[in-house]
């Protein structure tokens, strides 16, 4: 989608308020910000005009006051499933877990049967999870709560299919029609559409003409690469409840009369529960449960009756890789990024989950636990087999048509110049030589020629020695610029070293020549760099400068910013005020008088990443929702025309049956829809950084 519309504008831009009493005050600030963003680009003019003509669409106050998360999910459900599902989901999102009868009470328009019917389809699509509660009396009550995983799959659906298409391209485009059913994207599309499918179901729905072996092979591929997993109860159980269940069970198993203190008991139960929990979660990807060897053909096949579902975790890993590749490209350029891409591709499947399941258990509340999780995951990244690689591994998987020659230069320009000078010592150099004068005007006569020659010879010898030492150093690194192999190991090693030496921890060298990707640390820099650039692109480069200045100095006063960021105090104040508006910077007041008078107090600034990221995530989330909303309104406004264009007898013969103005309108709708999709996918690519990755 991105390819088709390269000239589409930036996805996150300033919005100017076109109405309301604040306009005059805001306009000046916003114009100044816009100038910072766009320089002398035409965009300022455009938006300036927009202000006058009031042509910029401003969402209503009602929309703006909505919680971004529920706004996004409601828009998604509304556009995919319509009003009934929305009503149920809205109550679940607003009120948390509810039983079916409670849901009916909240939505008096529905009968209990209807509610249950809707719940069944929502459960199938993994939009709702359920949990049984027996604590109140003997009767079992089933509570339902919304499941974000299903919602994420909905949100990502287009990107998922795109990704699957990229990873598992159709074998041959000629037989497209017959092979369509065997293409990975079609299979995944079907699975997403119904929630879960077994191989047998899929085959029966395809009919007898379908290329059965191709379909099975694609299924096997998808399962082996982790995109499909068998569905089980875990997918419908909230992880937090599962954790509590296991923990409680373990805690109760410890005998009451044991001499241990309660704290010790709890810790022991926690330790045991962790093991069980991870074991349960890890079991999901056990291939032996789903794949077997067909006794007839002795080919790998999928057990036909196991229902399979899409594995969001796996998809998020590939999203993470994409983000990292973009990041590497921006820091180290295309060639290193290709090497990095290869490294990521090798390790992607075994890489640690984007969201650690333990994080959903609520254990992170404890600071010690949070720290130990962090340390554990750092250790795991290094120790887990399959996550480390060397240049040799990369060379096996590098794209065939890559040419790394010329991507690395082994001699610095300044050294080149020095070499040239030495190789042809110009006769001028002697003439230019400065005459040395003593203070009282006595000129020191030049040394006799045979002596200068001798000195020069010594110099040259020294230089040669130095150069030899340098050469030795180069030999150690084994780098040869004249290597003729376009995919030579030395080049790969060079790029890997660059990645490891970069200021961002793209790679870590665990043993000489063996690298791994330090996800835990890398994600932090990925997030902060993305955040800073988002700020720079919207609030201007000076905002980023102040932001990074505060981050580097932890807690600063205006004076410190003034002296370290070398900005005028007036500019600092105006920039900081906008930074505070977007929760980038926090103010700390240091009162200097007993009555805490604001006039005499000193104000310090600091950055709390968690808060600013959360705000940014919500902001982006709201924008995705708003885009979806705009798209839906557009469709609603043109409902008659769209209905007409979609009629069976009109389809394919639009040019004959529709008026030219209708055709134009239709074109405009399509363009705007496409526009909205492009922007949604762009904003998603920013939002996911703060949401999962």
């Amino acid at each position: 989608m991105d390819l088709t519309l390269t000239a589409i504008t930036n996805s996150v831009e300033q919005k100017t308020e076109a109405n309301g009493g604040q306009t005059s005050g805001n306009k000046a600030i916003i114009d100044a910000q816009l100038q910072q963003i766009n320089g002398d680009d035409g965009a300022v003019e455009n938006l300036g005009n927009g202000l006058d003509n009031q042509s910029v669409d401003i969402s209503t106050l009602e929309q703006r006051s909505r919680n971004p998360e529920s706004f996004l999910w409601s828009e998604l459900i509304q556009s995919h499933f319509g009003g009934k599902a929305l009503a149920i989901m809205d109550s679940l999102m607003a009120l948390g877990r509810l039983s079916a009868s409670q849901l009916r009470d909240k939505n008096p328009n529905f009968t209990l049967k209807e509610v249950k019917l809707i719940l069944v389809s929502l459960l199938q699509l993994r939009l709702v999870k359920s949990v049984d509660d027996t604590s109140l009396g003997k009767r079992k009550i089933t509570y339902y709560l919304h499941d974000e995983e299903g919602l994420y799959i909905l949100l990502y659906s287009g990107l998922i299919l795109n990704e699957i298409n990229e990873k598992f391209p159709n074998a041959s485009s000629k037989e497209e029609i017959t092979n369509d059913q065997a293409s990975a994207a079609t299979i995944v599309e079907n699975i997403i559409a119904v929630g879960s499918l077994s191989l047998k179901d899929y085959l029966t729905s395809c009919g007898s003409q379908a290329p059965k072996h191709d379909i099975i092979a694609t299924f096997v591929k998808l399962i082996e690469s982790g995109y499909l997993i068998p569905i089980n109860k875990l997918n419908y159980t909230p992880l937090n409840d599962l954790w509590n269940l296991i923990y409680e069970k373990e805690y109760k198993l410890i005998p009451r009369n044991s001499p241990m203190s309660d704290l010790k008991k709890r810790n022991e139960a926690k330790g045991k529960a962790k093991l069980q929990f991870l074991d349960l979660i890890g079991n999901v990807n056990d291939l032996t449960k789903t794949i077997m060897v067909d006794p007839k053909t002795s080919l790998k096949t999928v057990k036909p009756l196991i229902p399979l579902t899409f594995n969001l975790e796996r998809f998020l890993k590939s999203r993470r890789s994409k983000q990292l590749i973009k990041f590497a490209k921006s820091r180290l350029g295309g060639m290193s990024a290709i090497v990095y891409k290869t490294a990521l591709a090798i390790t992607e499947q075994k890489s640690p989950n984007v969201v650690n399941p333990m994080f959903k258990t609520g254990l992170l509340q404890d600071l010690d636990e949070a720290e130990s999780f962090r340390e554990e995951s750092i250790l795991e990244e290094e120790k887990t087999s399959g996550l480390s690689f060397s240049a040799l591994d990369i060379s096996k998987h590098l794209p065939k048509d890559i040419d790394l020659r010329g991507s690395l230069v082994a001699l610095h320009n300044r050294d080149k110049n020095n070499n040239n000078k030495r190789s042809n010592p110009s006769s001028d150099s002697e003439n230019i030589k400065k005459k040395i004068k003593t203070e009282d005007g006595f000129v020191i006569p030049a040394l006799p020629k045979h002596i200068t020659d001798k000195i020069q010879d010594e110099d040259v010898e020294e230089n040669v020695e130095e150069e030899e030492q340098e050469d030795d150093a180069m030999m150690d690194l084994d780098f040869d610029e004249d290597d003729t192999d376009p995919r030579s190991i030395t080049y790969i090693q060079g790029h890997l070293k660059l990645l490891a030496k970069s200021s961002m921890p793209f790679l870590q060298e665990s043993k000489p020549g063996v690298y791994h990707i330090p996800y835990t640390k890398l994600m932090e820099s990925l997030r902060s760099t993305n955040y800073n650039y988002l700020i720079a692109s919207t609030l201007g480069p000076s905002a980023m400068r102040i932001c990074r200045c505060i981050a580097a100095n932890k807690l600063v006063s205006e004076k410190v910013i003034n002296s370290t960021a070398l900005m005028k105090e007036k500019d600092i104040r105006s920039t900081i005020s906008s930074l505070i508006k977007y929760n980038v910077v926090e103010i700390q007041e240091v009162p200097r008088t007993v009555d805490r008078s604001a006039a005499r107090a000193v104000f310090l600034f600091r950055i709390k990443e968690k808060h600013s990221y959360a705000f940014m995530r919500q902001n982006l989330e709201w924008n995705i929702a708003n885009l979806l909303h705009k798209k839906e309104t557009l469709k609603e406004n043109n409902a008659t025309l769209l209905m007409k264009a979609n009629r069976e007898d009109v389809k394919g013969r639009e040019a004959e049956l529709l008026l030219p103005s209708e055709l134009n309108q239709l074109k405009m709708i399509k363009e705007r829809e496409l526009n909205a999709y492009v922007r949604i996918s762009r904003v998603i690519s920013l939002w996911e950084i703060f949401n999962f990755i």
Binding site: T9, L332, L534, T564, K568, W622
Partner: protein, 319 residues
């Protein structure tokens, strides 16, 4: 000038002795030392007092109290002549300004110390200024205060705020041009092709880098040498100044600090130079992510048009 001032021989001798023995007359003498220097056998304190009084009257000697001990300092004839032309009030004001050295003194402080009426102080300052004995300078710390110091003195760094201030104001233009120069110098050393990354023969498309063993960074000293050699700054800069410039560039993400005092230009900063549509990172069909939207390329995107109904705004929600 010395001829204009009439002095007894003994006093003149003592004065010239004091000027000669102390480097530029700044040495302090104790009473005992002066007594020893007097000619004749066993000169008494009374003799000394007479001579010192004579010198004091002619403004040729200054009394300084150090560690609760009275000390004497010679004043050269020029300085003395200057003082002799001043009125009493003027010389009082002058002495306070002189004592403040390179830090300068606030006009209100002078008033408080001298116990003179404000009008008198202002009159004195005006006359001293017109005779070019003192000057007023702008302080960075207190921009509203009038600070006075001796005419021939250079204000201290505290007062001027260092090289980044011109007449008490942060010279943003000067800083920005220096930032650009520093960045260009470092960038030239960080990438083999310097700024010609996209050359016409197409080879530049393959954006090349220095191998990891090449020293591609620049040290603060190198940058300083370059700037001094180019002669772009009319003020004296130190490595500390360069370091603070580099820190600003690091905040801008245009440089990154490799090690202490060693800086490299970032690739993103280089990409910001190129206009919209040009791909700085080298285009390659092997990398689909090349064409995908990335916030790091924000500078090469265009703003939304007026008719664009789907534009997303950063501040729409937060408005």
């Amino acid at each position: 000038m010395s001829d204009n001032i009439e002095l007894s021989d003994v006093a003149r001798e003592l004065h010239s002795h004091m000027i000669k023995s102390g480097a530029s007359g700044s040495r302090l003498f104790t009473q005992k030392e002066l007594q020893d220097k007097l000619p004749g056998n066993n000169p008494t304190l009374a003799d000394l007092m007479l001579i010192v009084q004579e010198l004091l009257d002619k403004n040729l000697i200054k009394l300084v109290k150090q560690n609760n001990e009275l000390k004497f300092q010679a004043v050269d004839f020029q300085e003395a002549a200057k003082k002799s032309t001043m009125s009493n009030e003027e010389s009082l004001v002058y002495s306070y300004i002189e004592a403040s050295g390179r830090e300068g003194i606030w006009s209100k402080t002078i008033k408080a110390r001298t116990n003179l009426h404000q009008h008198v102080v202002l009159k004195c300052l005006k006359s001293l200024e017109s005779q070019r004995y003192v000057k007023s300078v702008k302080s960075v710390k207190y921009p509203t205060r009038k600070i006075y110091m001796l005419y021939h003195l250079q204000p201290s760094v505290e007062v001027t705020g260092g090289p980044w201030f011109t007449e008490g104001e942060l010279d943003v233009e000067f800083i920005n041009s220096l930032l650009t120069i520093v960045w260009r110098f470092v960038a030239q050393n960080s990438f083999p092709n310097g700024f010609q990354t996209t050359t016409s023969n197409g080879e530049g498309n393959k954006n090349s880098q220095y191998a990891p063993n090449v020293r591609s960074y620049s040290t603060a000293q190198e940058i300083l040498d370059f700037i001094s050699a180019a002669g772009v700054a009319n003020v004296e800069l130190s490595t500390a100044n360069i370091r603070s410039l580099c820190t600003v560039l690091v905040y801008d993400d245009r440089l990154e600090e490799v090690e202490f005092d060693c800086y490299r230009a970032t690739l993103t900063s280089l990409a910001q130079l190129t206009g919209p549509g040009e791909n700085m990172y080298g285009s390659n069909k092997l990398l689909d992510e090349m064409d995908e939207f990335s916030i790091f390329d924000y500078h090469s995107t265009m703003g939304p048009t007026e008719t664009d109904k789907e534009a997303v705004y950063f501040d729409e929600w937060a408005l």
